[in-house]
Structure formats: structure tokens, C-alpha cells
Amino acid sequence: MTDLLGVYIHIPFCRQKCFYCDFPSYAGLEKLFDDYAAALCREIDRRSGLFSACRVDTVFFGGGTPTLLPVKTLTSILETLQRRFSVLGDAEISTEANPGTIDRETLRALRSAGFNRLSIGVQSFSDRVLQAAGRIHTGRQAIQAVLAAQAAGFDNISIDLMYGLPEQTLQDVSSSLRQAVDLPVSHVSVYGLKVEETTPLEAALSAGRVTLPEEDDELAMYELATRFLPDHGYLRYEISNYAQPGKECRHNLKYWRYQSYLGFGAAACSFFADERLTNTMDVREYIVDVNADKSPVAIKERIEKDTAMAEYVFLALRTKEGIRFAEFFHRFCVDFPSYYMEEIKTLRQQQLIYVTAHGIGLTVLGMRFGNRVFAAFLPKKNK
């Protein structure tokens, strides 16, 4: 592999689980922080040998809440990575951060440790909405976090916003968007709430303790974001992501472009060649395995060509560029327009995709009904 590699590092800790979250992240495991960090470094160390030929151009600390760990711990993990891998000097090095866990000092320390991009989980600037979602911070704290990040020297700051949350109104979303663009952020992710099974939110919903916005309102929130952010200089470069030119998240683009990445830590996922490896979600098991020099991989999946093609399509179509025929051919030796002639025809008729001489992409309608497009390109089984 001579490709540029992305590296993901998972920090599976939170101070408190948000009501809607089904991510592999756990509250109340503070006593494991040190052991976990040590295990992470050990895993990085152990796996580095095979990838010595690769250069790393993006690093992403995700969670959970990476900033729940002491800055010196995060720094040492990053240093281990830099020691063991050839991380390029202009690499994008991001960490996710919760506004309730960062202050000017920690931000300054992160910046000087080499982190150059921050992704702050704001979700909303309305305290009422934040509280109803089980977030640990206020809107005011979120604003302060962004300003502090700027003061600490970050010029690549992203915030996450959500719509469709309990208690949320179109007005809430509108003011959150307005607040976002008034702040020194260069990137905004806007996610619709999805009610996941076995979350406290699902339980509360089925017990009738909370209600979600009406569908029409939810759609209006979505559409507001799709109009408002581009109007304010944030281009929609992926279904849920908006960035000022040049500030797109290079690490996430790797996922959507079906490029290789390594994941370290519990539940982290690696993808290279035709394999997808997922580490165990169990933090303790992860630590034990790594310390015993045992592979922490829980799921090893070989991606067959037809599945790879389908994944490529549904990931690439999420982005503004969509699918380039030449690139698809280069990757799979398959002529996209003739292989998917039927699908293209139908989806075009339904106005879900547009087709040019060089590629296809989702239309505005297609972005709303992306799943229909994605499903159409899944492998044709048997018949």
C-alpha cells in the first residue's frame, strides 16, 4: 500500500451518555483511562511494522469524548503514533471535543501537541434542547469553547449540530445555525436525529415521555440547514457536512472515497486492501487482549468485489463529487455507466441522480432520499 493512510483513534469514554447515543462509548470508566491509553500505544506500536511504507496524512481522535482524557495522555498517544508511523508534517490532526470538557488551557496544550483541527459536539445552542438530549453542557459553554479554541490558535474548527431532537423547534434550529455562522467555525456537520434501538431516548419515546418534532417540521429543519449554510459560505460537500472552501474534513473524506484507514482502540475499525477489521467493543477485553499481545480484532470481514463496488457507490454518492466513472474504472475495472445502465436509467427518471459525461451524483431530491439510491446499487444477488 503506497496510499496515504488515515488513522482513527477511538476514545470510548464519556462523562455521561447522551439519551440518543448508541455509539461504543461508556460513562463511569475513569479508572480505566491510564490502562486504556497504555493499551492504545501498545496496539499502535505492534501494528506499525506492517505499515512502515505508508504515510499518514490524517489522524482523527473520535469518541466518546477524547477530551475527557487528560491532555498529556492524548499527547502521548499522538506522540506514539508519530514515532511509529510517518505522519506527514501537513497532516490533518483532529480531535473531537465536548464543550463541557475543554478550557483555554487544555485547548492551548492540544494545539501545541500538534492537533490542528477541532470537532466540537455542540448539537444545539438551546439549553432546553441540550438538556432534553442529555448533553452535559450549555449553549453558552459551547460558544465559549469555540472562542477559546480560536484563542488557542485553532483555525480549523468544526461544530456538530443536530435537528429533530426532542423539544426542538424550527426556531431553535434557525437560531443555532445563525449562532454557528457568527462564530469562528470553518466547518459544520448537521445530523438528523435517528432513534436507535436500546437507547434511553427510544425507551422514553415508546413510554410517551418525550415527543419528537413532527415530520414536516423535521423536514423544514433539514431544508433550512441546506439553504442557510451555503448562503453563509459553507458548501455542502457531503450529505450532512458543510465547509468553507478548503476546510473539508480530509479524514472523513477518506471514508467516503473508500480509501484505506487504520483504527486503533476499542471498537475501532480498519479498512485496507479487501478487509475490514473491527476491534472488540469491550474496553476491558480490549486492554486485556492488547496486553497479552493478542489481536483485539472481533470482526474480520472480507469485502468481495461486488460488495466493495456497492459500498464505494453509496459512500461516494454521499459527497458532492459523486462518482467519477474514470476513478471507478481505475478501481474496479468496471465501466460504471454500462454495468449500472438499468439503475442509472430508473434513478434518473425518478430525478434522484444527475448524470454527466464523467460521472453521476445525487440531486437535491436524491440527497433527501439517498437510501433509495444507495439500495439500488447493492449487489444483484443470484438472478
Binding site: H10, E215, N252, Y261
Partner: protein, 598 residues
Amino acid sequence: MDTAHIRNFSIIAHIDHGKSTLADRLIEYTGALSAREMENQVLDQMDLERERGITIKAQAVRLEYKAQNGEEYMLNLIDTPGHVDFTYEVSRSLAACEGALLVVDATQGIEAQTLANVYLALEHDLEIIVVINKIDLPSADPEKVKHEIEEVIGLDASDAILVSAKTGLGIPDVLEAIVRKIPPPRTNLTEPLRALIFDSHFDSYKGVIAYVRIMDGSIRPGMKVKTMASDKVFEVTDVGVFRPALRNIDELGPGQVGFLAASVKNVKDTRVGDTITDATRPAAQPLTGYRKITPMVFCGLYTVDSVDYEALRDALEKLQLNDASLVFEPETSVALGFGFRCGFLGLLHMDVIKERLEREYDLSLITTAPNVIYKVYKTDGQVLQIDNPAHLPSPQEIEHIEEPYVKATVIVPNEFVGAVMELSQEKRGEYKDMKYLDTTRVMLTYHLPLSEIIYDYFDRLKSSTRGYASLDYELTDYQESSLVKLDILLNGEPVDALSVIVHRDRAQYRGRLLVEKLRGIIPRQMFEIPVQAAIGNKVVARETVRAMRKDVLAKCYGGDITRKRKLLEKQKEGKKRMKQVGSVEIPQEAFMAVLKID
């Protein structure tokens, strides 16, 4: 064996009165199968028959029995289906017999199909032996049942045999009665061969296996035989008997029941009901057959995936090999593409065939709502037989329409008489008769449109009588009715496969129910879908399937690609079960919705 020691008989009963269990006991008692070989309901070979506890195909078995007089007898038992749909099968089994065991449940008494089957047996001049079953149950009341039999049917029940097929009680008495009461077959040895085909199945090695009852003469392998109706000549390769597995013998003699194989490739060449004779010395007259098959219920069968069309045709052809009552011909629907219009004996028959196609042939099917055959008298003097609502001519061309009527017999405890009358009236029935079977049970007779029976009469009858009512019906005549075609429009486009023919007075109501139901079944799509019911150009009901607002995974990162892919696969799987009609995706069950609306 001389014919004096042969007895050919059937067992007739209302469904669930214990016919198959009795057959099992007789087989067991006479040792045709060892206890080890016995499986419950030996004669019900299909999985479906065992699961549903019903007999669908007629089956035959030969029993050897040493009677109390010390002599050996050959008893040929021909099992019959008990459901109203399969009256035709009953009829052809009876044609091969001289006698019948009439089984009545001691706890239930006479039911509608008891009557229907008795009348059939009497039509065939059979000797009837009354067997009262389930007398081991605490609620058994054999005296009351005997009284009913005498009062309602007019049979002498004084020497009715009391039996528990479950425990085996009374089985020897049944066997003795068969020998003593049922006459031996009357045959004439000098006459040329005449054998009645009463059933058949297809064997991939031997071709058609015809089930026959020899009336005159005999059949041996090597003989040249001729089918009198289809006029085909075959050389007999095998003859044999049912033990109940097929066992070859050297000769089937007069009066006997057995099978023959003659390398017949096409089941149509040995039609059930045809007479087989000696090709070198043919008989002058064929045997009188029995009631002809008349499919009464029709529906369209389509595959969800159009590439399965050929597979469906092959499957139907294979099923037809063993079920001559199934008829089908290709048809085309604008909405569903290529498929078949199939005729069935009734709703159960339709269900069974559909289930067998899906289960045994792994087909995913769409069934359109069942309907009857309408006679359409056109203004230009033409008369059309319409078995598909989509083919109904436009109202201007129609002079009048006639629909089939049945005589429906309902037996019910007297407290439900009001409910049955109300239901029957609502279903356009004309009251004919009411008779008390005893102090608590009543037999009601109605003249009813068949279309109402296949719509929901039977279900509603069961629910409004807490399951106590039994129903039998037979086609009587055609009568003029004020009928209209109710069309369903999705997104403004008529969907031909959803059209139904209904009585004018009920059309608007049905239309309203139907669009409501469809609104619930049709999944939301990218755009709003008006669902309308219309008679001609007039919309009589309308509902709207609201547009889906959004359908996209908000987030997709490196760690969850596999999971997201699986979600998409599930979504696609669901879509595969839908039929794309114009721009609208319709799930399979929508086409059946027309049938079941409450």
C-alpha cells in the same frame, strides 16, 4: 378373488368429524401397515394436509380382512376430502364404490357437509352405513345424533355403529358391517374391459399413474388399452394395488380398485372420469362419469419477480398433473405483467394451490382478489363469460349482467338464527327455508350470490356464530344483478389488477373501505399518492398516502459502513416484495386487500 368377496367403499364426513382417523384405524386393524409404519393420517400424504388436518386429494388403500364368517375379503377404501371445495373429488371417489361409511361426530351431530355428502352418495346409489364417532368424549350424545340422522336425512339409524376412532372402539363392527351391508361389485366377466379413472398422479419414472376401478373385465400388463373419451391407445406396463404404497400385481380383476401405468406422458390423455377399455375389443358404451369439474373461483396469479413467470407456468403444469380441477390460462395485466388466470373449486382450493406453489416451488406470488364468472349480455347480442373484472366491457356496451347463485345450507344452534339471517340478507341472500333438526339446531337455506360467499360470507358466518355454523353450498343458477366495476386508481392511474365487480348498492361502501385499507398498506413513497375508488369516471372514495419526507442515513463513518450496508440491504429486501406499478410501489398483500376488508 371372486367379486363376491370384494367391497369397495368410501368414508364421507363433515370436516373434523374423524374420517381420516377412522381410515387409519381400519388400515391398522386389518394389518395393511404394521404399527411401526403407521403414521397419523396415513392417507393424508401432503404436508399441507397433515398441517391443516384436511384431506385434499382422494387416496385409496386395499385392506385384507378375515370376516367372522371365516372368509377372506378384499376391502378397497377410497378416502375422500371433507371440505365443500372438494365435493367434486368426493363425487369421483363415490363413483368407484358400492357403499359409503357416513361418519358423524357424536358431539356435533349433522353438519352442512354431512348432508351434502350424503346426497352425493345417494345420487350414486350407494349403500350407506352410519358410523357415529367420538363416543368416548363426555359430551357425546349418540341418541340425539341418531335422531337427527333419521329426521333430517331419512336414513334408518337404529343400527348405527358407535365408534371411537381414537381409541379403536367399535372398529371390528365397522369392518363386519362393510362385509355384510355393502353389496359386492356387480360385474360381467364376459363383457369387454371397462375401468373408471377416478384419480391420477404423475410419476417421473412411469408417467401417469391412473387410479381405476374395474367395472367389467380385467387389466394385465402388456395389454393394449384405449381411453374412450380422449381416444388414445396405450400399452399397460404396470398394474397394482394400494397397500397404501403402490404394489404391483399380475392382474386387476372385475370389481377391483387399483392403479395402472402405461407410459402416459400427458395427464390430459387419461382424464379423471374417462373410461379405459380394451383396445382390441372395445366396449360399446363408456361408463357414466360423474359431476364435471366446474371451477367456481378465479383469480390472477403473478410472480413478484417477472423472471419467475416460466417457473410459475412449470409449477402450475406440475400441480395440474395431480389436480385436474385446477385450470389456468395465461393473462396479462397492465399492472402486474404476465401471469395466469386460474380457476379453483373454491377458496380453500385456491389457498392450497397458492401455498403449494410458494412452498414446494419457492415462488413469491401475487394473487389478485378472487371472483366468479359473470355472464355479460352485450347490447350487440353477444354474451361474454367474464372471469376477470379488468375484462368487463364498458357500461354502454352492457345490456345486463348475470352472476352465479348458490343454494347455501347453514346449520347452526338456534340462538344464532337471527345473526345468520341478518348476515345472509346483507349479503343479498333470499331466504328459502328453515328446518329444526332437533330442539336446538336449525338448518337454514338461502339463495345467495356466489360472489358474496367467496368475498367474506364464510368468515363472517363463523365469527357471528362463534364458529358453530357449518356451511355447504352448490351452484344453482345465474341471475341478473345490478353490478358495476369498481376501479382503483393509484396516483391517478387505474390499476387493473385491483378492479372488482360489485353490486351497485354496495359499490360506494366497498370503495371507501378499500381505499382506506390500501392507504394503510401502501408504504409512503417520495411523493403523495392519491388512492381513489371509481365507478366509470366517477370517483366514489379517496384517501391519500402521505409523501415520505426523508429517507437517508444522516451519518456514515468508517466504523459503521458494514452496518449501514446491512441496513440498506434490508431496505432493498423489503422493496423486492413490492410490485412497481407505474411510479408506485405496491406490496403483495395490497392485491389481496380487495378480498379482506372489514
